[in-house]
Amino acid sequence: MSASSSRWRRFGAMLGQGSLFLVTSLSTFAVFFIFYFIAKDAIPFFQMEGFKEFFASTSWYPSGHPAEFGALSIFFGTAIVTFGAVVVAVPLGVSAAVCLSDVLPFSARQVVKPVIEVLAAIPSVAYGFFALVVLAPLLQEQGGTVLSLVSWLVLGPVLILAVFVFGDLIADRAPERFQRSVRWGSILLLGALGLVLMQSLSTTLSTIEITSGTNALNVSLILGIMALPTVVSVSEDALQATGRDLREGSYALGATRAETIVRTVIPASLSGILAAVILGVMRAVGETMVVWMASGNSARLPSPLYNVLQPVRTLTATIAGDMGEADHVTGSSRFHVLFAMALCLLLFSFIMNLVSEAIVRRSRKKLNT
């Protein structure tokens, strides 16, 4: 009697565990289903139109006769805004993370954390709205002034610092007696040189007229801000994971805090920071609303290629924007090309995800041994 009841109980437990496992594996099914259903609608496109035009041509006329599906400029648009976002987010994000983990006291950290959380929580459509309604008109009307102001704000402090450091380095080479005068002389000389350079740069920038406020620069800025929280929190975790012993060893050798961080802590947590950058890239590549609203949606290569003041078009924005028109003709290559783009996005994020996981796993192993 008791034996059979315990068997029933074990059977019940197994059944319960089985159903729990089933629910848990739902996310696995979801991933498979997503891959399957995106690929199912993407493959007909490649069967109909082939690979070459899609990846190598820049003429995107999906509604033309005959329709052309050259998505190279769209891939380029995604690449350039993502690169711009990385340029904005990585230096800012990593320095903020260093400051959070090594400079600020615990209580100040508690104040900064909610700021990051709120930045992460603001919906993408609100960022897009800001980019379209506030930032784009500002760039269009005051473009040159804004650019030169930003260049002063960013390069000014860097310049002052560089002048002092180089002045010092030069003075070190000079003979002992003249060191003082050489230092001040070179600082003055370098400072004057730097000022002239800055001035000419900012006058060139201030004459720039931005014809369209919805461009790659605008989108890159906003995407950079959106990717910041990810970069900050992931790289802060990585910096924290490098233990106190490394830091204290470096301090004991007489290094300053900056030297400790740059020469010891950051190299030790480089893989974690790399993972943070990858996650930031994924965020920027996959973002839809901001680029759809504020990138200008023009499927042409900018000329010259590095011109960020021209409108671009990205994969996500194309999917979102063209589906409305393509919806009615389900089955045409115009419908399937959007799935082909989604498949590219999906594969990219999948691979990036695997890479970042592998990096994190390897670094964890390294830190543990």
């Binding site: 437990a13 729990l20 629910v23 848990t24 739902l26 979801a30 997503i34 259903f37 995106i38 800012l92 320095s95 903020a96 400051c99 959070l100 400079v103 700021v115 709120v118 930045l119 929580a121 603001i122 919906p123 993408s124 459509v125 609100a126 960022y127 709205f129 800001f130 379209l132 309604v133 506030v134 402090p157 610092l161 002092f164 010092d168 380095l169 007229e209 801000i225 910041l228 805090r257 900056a258 030297e259 740059v262 996650l279 994924m282 590549v285 996959g286 839809t288 609303m289 759809w292 609203m293 999917i319 979102a320 589906m323 919806d327 389900t330 989604a342 996005l345 994020s349 695997l354 996981e357």
Partner: protein, 448 residues
């Protein structure tokens, strides 16, 4: 290197970090300030008599006697304007044909501009479009409309190298020397009496339906749609996510299968949101035909998949944070594993799980891309709960996009756009604040 320089470098290094954090905080302020500032303008603004007319006619708000009195007062104040126009029209009829001609188009423009400010001319046929049946409802709009009456605007492109320059000329010049000339001064002087602006608190903006594609009324259907979508998504995501977290923490033995499942969860977290949207379209709508058209149900399911990884991860964290002693105590009292999970671990982890759930709710409420193809329409009525199974709905994120890019009168309804963004951000931030407070409480409790 000199010690002083090393010190300087050290200082500036710390300074760089602080600047980065300051930039982050500043970005937050710069982005939120205009949205909150102008968004509040959708709720609190200086409303004119035209606003009160809309409220009275469409929603029966306001005291009928007072309304009649105010309308009588403003009509009386407007009378001189219409009289000036009709006198001038009579004058025109007397004039020779050639003299009349140069005034024809300007007069038509002027009458249109006046109708934009004050609404249709009394006695004229009621226009079909609702936006033409009323004048400017807000003081800020009224100022712009008044400016349009007083000045004509033209773009000067005479310099081919530069961008066009806006040139404003007083409209009075067009009618110099005619009996219409005093109109402009009268209008400017008596504008307050004609419109009777009061400070208005229009909280019903949140619940009113919109009239004439958002030119009048509020954002009720959008708010309701967002609530349906968010609650629907959580309805699916919470059970699935919490159960998965329980299994992963308490039952799973680390091995190939589990690490594979974990990889899948993180892959799911990395899938771009627009791909979720396409998947929802291809699977829920085109393959299993969960509803005939886009529907709240399909949108909720898509959003549920999107937030599932977040729910799983935060629930896992919350469960792992429950002290081992709780579990061991329960086990030692003879409770089974399942019993322990249900009665000890889950209650202890509940606040942490809820924190993650609340944050995911914010995420689901703000996501746009997944609902474009699965749930959202630009114009629609508020849905009853049962209709959500088969019908699409307007939703805040989608309508923000729609109003500021595809609306035919984008500039006329800036306040509605800002109001919508403000509402959406308020919802999301409210949820996040709740989460932050809850987490602070938990960490206090865990610290003892």
């Amino acid at each position: 290197m000199n010690l002083k320089t090393r010190k300087l470098l050290d200082r500036s290094f710390s300074g760089m970090g602080l600047v980065a954090i300051a930039v982050m905080a500043m970005a937050l302020v710069v982005i939120l300030a205009p949205i909150i500032g102008k968004g509040a303008g959708a709720f609190i603004f200086r409303g004119t008599i035209e606003h009160r007319k809309v409220m009275f006619n469409c929603w029966n708000r306001g005291n009928p006697d007072q309304m009649a009195e105010e309308i009588a007062q403003t009509d009386a104040a407007r009378q001189p304007i219409y009289e000036l126009i009709s006198t001038f029209e009579a004058e025109l009829k007397e004039m020779a044909r050639t003299d009349r001609k140069p005034y024809k188009q300007p007069l038509r423009d002027l009458k249109k501009a006046v109708a934009g400010l004050l609404g249709p001319t009394p006695g004229a046929r009621t226009p079909v479009l609702m936006r033409q049946q009323y004048g400017a409802t807000r003081k800020d709009r009224a100022d712009i409309k008044l400016d349009e009456i007083l000045y004509t605007e033209e773009w000067d492109y005479s310099n081919p190298d530069a961008m066009g320059v806006l040139v404003k000329t007083p409209r009075a010049e067009q009618f110099a020397g005619t009996s219409l000339e005093p109109l402009f001064r009268t209008l400017e002087k008596n504008i307050d009496a004609m419109l009777q602006t009061h400070l208005t608190f229009y909280w019903q903006f949140l619940i009113d339906t919109s009239k004439d594609s958002h030119i009048f009324g509020g954002i009720g259907p959008e708010v309701l749609g967002t609530l349906y979508l968010t609650l629907g998504a959580m309805l699916f995501a919470i059970p699935m996510g919490v159960i998965a977290a329980i299994y992963l923490c308490e039952y799973a033995k680390e091995g190939r299968v589990i690490s594979f499942i974990r990889t899948c969860i993180s892959t799911l977290a990395g899938v771009p949101s627009i791909v979720f949207g396409l998947f929802g379209l291809a699977f829920f709508l085109n393959t299993i035909h969960i509803s005939d058209s886009k529907s709240v149900l399909a949108g909720s399911l898509t959003l549920a998949l999107l937030v599932l990884p977040t729910v799983i991860r935060s629930s896992e964290e919350a469960i792992l944070a429950v002290p081992r002693a709780y579990k061991e105590a329960a086990m030692s009292l003879g409770a089974g594993k399942w019993h322990t999970v249900l009665t000890v671990i889950l209650p202890a982890a509940l606040p942490g799980i809820l924190t993650g759930v609340v944050i995911s709710m914010g995420r689901a409420a703000g996501e746009t891309a997944p609902i474009i193809f699965t749930a959202a329409v630009s114009v629609g009525r508020p849905l009853l709960p049962l209709q959500t199974l088969s019908q699409p709905t307007p939703a805040l994120p989608w309508n923000i996009y729609n109003l500021c890019t595809e609306h035919e009168a984008v500039d006329e309804i800036r306040h509605v756009q800002f109001g919508m963004v403000f509402t959406l951000i308020a919802i999301v931030l409210l949820l996040n604040t709740v989460a932050i407070i809850m987490r602070a409480r938990i960490s206090k409790k865990l610290r003892g």
